[in-house]
Amino acid sequence: MVTGGLTKFAKAHPAMDFRLMVRRAYDYALKGIPNLTKDRIDGTRISYFSDHFTRQLKAASMVQDYLGMNPKGSVRIEWGGATGGECFQAGYEAVASGRMDVCLAAGFETMSRVATWKGNEFIALASDTNYDFPLGGFYTGYYALMVIRHIYEYIRRTKFAGITDEREAQRRAIAEGQRIMSKVSVKNHLNALHNPYAQYPKRLTVEDVLRSEMISYPLTREQICTMSDGAAVAIFCDETRAREFTDKPIRIIGVGTGTDTMRLADRPFGKVPLMPREKPSDYADLKYPGVHSFRAGRAAGIEAYRMAGITNPNRELDFIELHDAYASSEIQTYEDLGLCKYGEGYDFVERGDPFLKKVDYGFPVPNAGAIPVNPSGGLIACGHPVGATGLMQGVFAFWQLQGTIRKHFGDRALQIPNARRGAIHSHAGTGSAVTVSILERGFRP
């Protein structure tokens, strides 16, 4: 990857349609690298999630057209919430396969064109329309079902194992889970205070998050990402050309994807696919993935780590930008990606591992800096214009590894010192598709 660009993510960009948004992100990407001109780009991969939002089929062709890329090759990428992550990998693959020397990956979403609850309805059409959607068609509801079970498996059965009144034990476990999820929300919103591209940077306390409106029990408004307008682009090329365009190229050293059943209700109750440092005996009694964990995320992580030669992600990665559509799914994803074992996600937050060292979160984070997660603010604070989101993560990771956060953010608070390797993680549906990509500094600092 040799460059990236973004628009600010916003509730609405009424003065830019999707073509102009992509153009702005593209212009930003090209600004810093004078040798990379349009004629050097061999083709494109263009992503957006939903034709319903744009109410324009073939919108990717219109982006191709507006950027003046015709008659070069292009493919539209769509894979639910993981659309942007898939597009990132599609751009990489176009080059890695030898089909192109230089490939532009661009993504966008214009979600402001419908009211919020209509938008939720469109998103819920990405659940089974025979069996799931007619019941209430609401993704926050699906994630609430998953986290209630996650809390049951990993808090009720451990911390509150001594309480025999089932209702009481589960209530207390849920309260504990809510409190810890709120810390994730505080982290991501606070990190975003230093990110000018973020939609909802703010200083919050755990109490603020808990007191915000209940959307679907136990998830409150501040634990959930919002709908956004935005675009992002990433440009990939082979290693020889990379040096021609920039003295700070970033290598893609691992890609992984995983999938799972479309319906949450169909998830099996089997065995955990193991990460390098795990043993079967770690999960002797765990029925997996059930509805509490994301098998697709684990599969994507295993594939990407294997390709990158990573056996201890906490030590071998300097940060992760992951798909925190919900504070709950950020915690679930720590476990899927092997940052901690299944069942340790809540303690991982309590210990402070995913927090940044230099930011004051208002509560103790003893292990801060161990493996910062969503230093950018993640989806919860940056917003989630679906087709752009995974590419946005790629751009943030790119700037982190280049060491150019200050240049692009006008603030170096979020720069992870001497970051050498990072991962990005993009997630669809109720976990029906996940991508993980690993980026590494490709130059001597």
């Binding site: 609430a144 079902l145 959307i215 029990y217 099996p268």
Partner: protein, 178 residues
């Protein structure tokens, strides 16, 4: 010359104007003006349940039908039907599911998609059944958030006026065993 649509600097006010007159101009903080119009869209689909039809027809008869894999070595039983087994790939056959189960998980939705906002708050449940390898997503009625817990016994109820939708079945807390 006809009048231009009214200009607003807040997008929320633009949305309100669209409800009233169908057109407005949004002026952003850079002074850029954009014309915004209301654009309605509705459609009736001709939707076939195809190989899943049996499930929806059975709901009208007060039955829950699941799928059982026909491969002898597999025999996976699904609470939510599917024509072919996801484990071994063999075709499935229809089986009756128990009408009593337990909450595998649950939630109360205080918001929802636009189509369901008027029904909030409503409960969703994943229901597990003895001897069945997967669960069923359904509405949970006649109970409130504070009563619910994982493992709670529930039983099916069926609509006397079927709409041939998954909403023709829902669950309620199970009555105590006689």
């Amino acid at each position: 010359m006809t009048a231009r649509p009214p200009v607003y600097e807040k997008f929320r006010e633009v949305q309100e104007e669209l409800e009233r007159s169908g057109a407005a101009i949004f002026r952003d903080h850079d002074g850029v003006e954009s014309l915004v119009i209301r654009s309605p869209y509705s459609i009736n689909y001709i939707h076939s349940y195809a190989e899943d039809s049996e499930f929806f027809l059975a709901l009208a008869d007060g039955k829950l039908r699941g799928s059982k894999c026909t491969a002898k070595r597999c025999g996976y039983v699904y609470a939510t039907p599917r024509g072919h087994c996801m484990e071994c790939g063999a075709p499935t056959q229809w089986v009756d599911l128990p009408l009593k189960g337990r909450l595998h998980s649950w939630t109360t939705c205080h918001f929802g998609s636009e189509a369901f906002l008027k029904e909030t708050p409503y409960n969703l449940a994943l229901v597990e059944f003895d001897g069945v390898g997967s669960v069923l997503l359904a509405r949970l009625k006649d109970c409130t958030e504070s009563e619910l817990y994982v493992g709670m016994p529930v039983e099916a109820r069926f609509s006397p006026t079927p709409k041939y939708s998954i909403t023709d079945v829902w669950f309620v807390p199970a009555s105590p065993e006689a």
